[in-house]
Symmetry: none
Subunit: 404 residues, 2 copies
């Protein structure tokens, strides 16, 4: 199997440019009323035009039948084996809010939540408190104190925060305290190895102190407890410039995707507030990089809301902005999603995702539409997402021949 | 995953015959003027007839996006994992000209080249000197002398030669002297391990002596220097008769493919000078073997020349000769290429290659034409080349059931 060690030897820099547009959760399922998916229901002349000039297919983000989270799904898009590189949520959240991490730090994703008098979780998100309130509560939690361990609590958005534990010989081998459902008490954090036993004590001490601080202030906020998950350390991972010799940039709005982009060594550029802003910023920075990751979130969010019509509109919003990108005429243009989020299911799913790649050298097929059914007849067939990057590099003429 | 160890246990000899015709570099890209590839442009009634009776598909020689050299591409066709079996160019060249190699010999591929007064390479092929001149120069180079090491220099064709170093404890762990471009001096050969340091000295001594001999003769030839690459030893590799219990033969014209065929244990038969000669020799030897590898080169050469029309003609040349083969009615007939060489790109490429397999047991699909687009709808879909041999063996009813 071709691995990073081979790609590293074959890749070389060149002036050609690759633009990789990820429409999050774009794949869908037919709505019973019409028998059409979100993509099949949307008016999207620009996406369909690209499909006509592209080689198309369907990608399996991780493996058939496996529904991926956002992190493994994106790692696969960038060529990183998502099974091998199991990145904790704590790390991506911390990178997403620009925390400077040390290799030995342990990070966890935190939720402020609401528990009742018996300590049972009644709202995992504490009614989605405001980011301002979150910021105040994080200041409060920074008053927790555990000898020998530095504690850093930083707000993300709404009810979300990041906990960093800094010290000697800390281990991320811990279970979550977040049971991921209401009606249960937060779980005691447990060590997954004997080496991590001291660490489990530290993490549980933090939770107890946090609980006491949140209750003692007599605050009227519904946020009276914390939930922690995804304890993790910075992974040992090659950057995209090491593997592909690329100078990669990300133009993404949501913090977690900023974190993911940084993790693989992309420079995170100013994005603005919507896809039009993002594509304007692409144009402004076009000469300074040779790989661009553009991330569009609303398709996934509306899919998770179960709002079919709104997901269709989100697709049309991307389509309307697309001419800004097409005007740049990138040598290689890739449009796909990280996974499917069918509005009828209202969650991430395992269904393969429509994919298209346009380049001067792409051997176009007969697909004339960007949709699940149409891409099924594409020249790439159905293939693992991890194969996208070698294909992108080949089409950009950035890979040498393998063997004599 | 099914490996050689499994195939070895399942395979058994039988009288059925497999003919494997490799049309080198046959896959292509559409020409902008017509939107048709080389195969789609060629008149090829016989190939299309076979397609109608075959199960078709598209093969990935090594891995999607990876452009293979001829050696890994052919190894994959014969079922050898091309990433695992990384065969040096020196070995395939030496085998191609029938040099009897010892396991401990180190072989390198050599070019006669032209350098200017400052020692800078101005022509990597010394104007493609004649094979006669090459032969004389090789005799000269056989006068080099390094105590304790036997030196054998043998001509291949035009500017190409093979260097064999024979002695005790020689190592192939050396860098190339060939920088693979003009405008640079030949590189000093360096050891890739401490064990190879003495070997690097020997190789550099050979280069210095060769340079002196080539200059001192006051020859008028543009060949005044040598370039070496692909230092290698005979690999530890199972033969096709060990893995498949086949009695395999090769009817190939070009030296490198003779070398490859020998490497996997084929008997190399007399080929003649063109595809008609090759197929006549197939007929003559048909009773004596049960697997035949027929190699046609011109499609690749014309593709590399960027000559679309000539590549189309080369395809038509194969098609015209094909009835000689079809008359033999082999139990299994496979026709494909080792990789694509689109004339528009003028080089090997990563694009999947049209494939067809005809046998009494092949479950034919609805494909009626041998081309990139047509094979896309074939019953085999897109699949790795390494899976061809198990499929061929199955269709020849030479594989037992796996498990009870």
């Amino acid at each position: 199997m071709i691995e990073f060690e081979h790609i590293r030897k074959l890749s070389h820099p060149s002036p050609s440019k690759i633009v990789f547009l990820v429409i999050d959760g774009v794949g869908g399922l037919p709505r019973p009323q019409t028998g059409k998916t979100e993509l099949e229901s949307a008016r999207k002349p620009n996406l369909d035009k690209v499909a006509q000039e592209s080689i198309c297919g369907l990608i399996d983000p991780v493996s058939p039948g496996i529904t991926p989270g956002s992190t493994p799904a994106h790692l696969a898009l960038f060529g990183y084996d998502p099974v091998k590189y199991n990145i904790g949520r704590g790390i991506t959240e911390a990178l997403g809010i620009d925390l400077a991490l040390k290799k030995s730090d342990v990070a966890a994703r935190g939720n402020f939540c609401t528990v009742d008098d018996q300590g049972i979780i009644v709202d995992r998100r504490a009614g989605r408190i405001s980011t301002e309130e979150n910021t105040k509560l994080c200041q409060l939690l920074n008053e927790t104190s555990i000898p020998g361990t530095e504690i850093i609590v930083s707000p993300v958005k709404e009810h979300r925060f990041v906990l960093i534990l800094r010290g000697d010989e800390l281990s991320p081998q811990l279970t979550d305290s977040d049971p991921q459902q209401t009606g249960l008490a937060p779980k005691k954090i447990e060590a997954l190895s004997t080496k991590a036993e001291k660490m489990a004590e530290i993490a549980n001490k933090f939770v107890h102190q946090a609980e006491r601080l949140l209750r003692s202030t007599h605050n009227v906020s519904p946020a009276n407890m914390v939930l922690l998950r995804g304890f993790s350390q910075y992974p040992d991972i090659l950057s995209m410039s090491e593997v592909y010799k690329l100078k990669p940039a990300a133009i993404v709005i949501y913090p977690m995707y900023r974190g993911l982009a940084k993790l693989v060594g992309m420079e995170v550029l100013h994005s603005g507030n919507n896809i039009t802003d993002q594509l304007e910023n692409l144009r402004r920075n076009y000469e300074n990089f040779d790989f661009f990751f553009i991330h569009f979130k609303a398709t996934d969010s509306r899919g998770e809301d179960g709002n079919f019509e709104a997901k269709v509109q989100a697709i049309e919003e991307v389509d309307a902005a697309l001419p800004l990108l097409l005007k740049l005429e990138p040598d290689v243009l890739i449009i796909t999603g990280d996974h499917s989020t069918p509005a009828t299911l209202a969650m991430h799913s395992w269904h393969p995702v429509p994919f298209m790649l346009r380049s001067k050298w792409c051997r176009p097929d007969r697909v004339t539409e960007f949709s699940e059914q149409a891409c099924l007849a594409g020249g790439l067939g159905r293939f693992p997402a991890i194969e996208i990057m070698p294909l992108a590099m080949a089409n950009a003429l950035k890979l040498d021949k393998f063997g004599a």
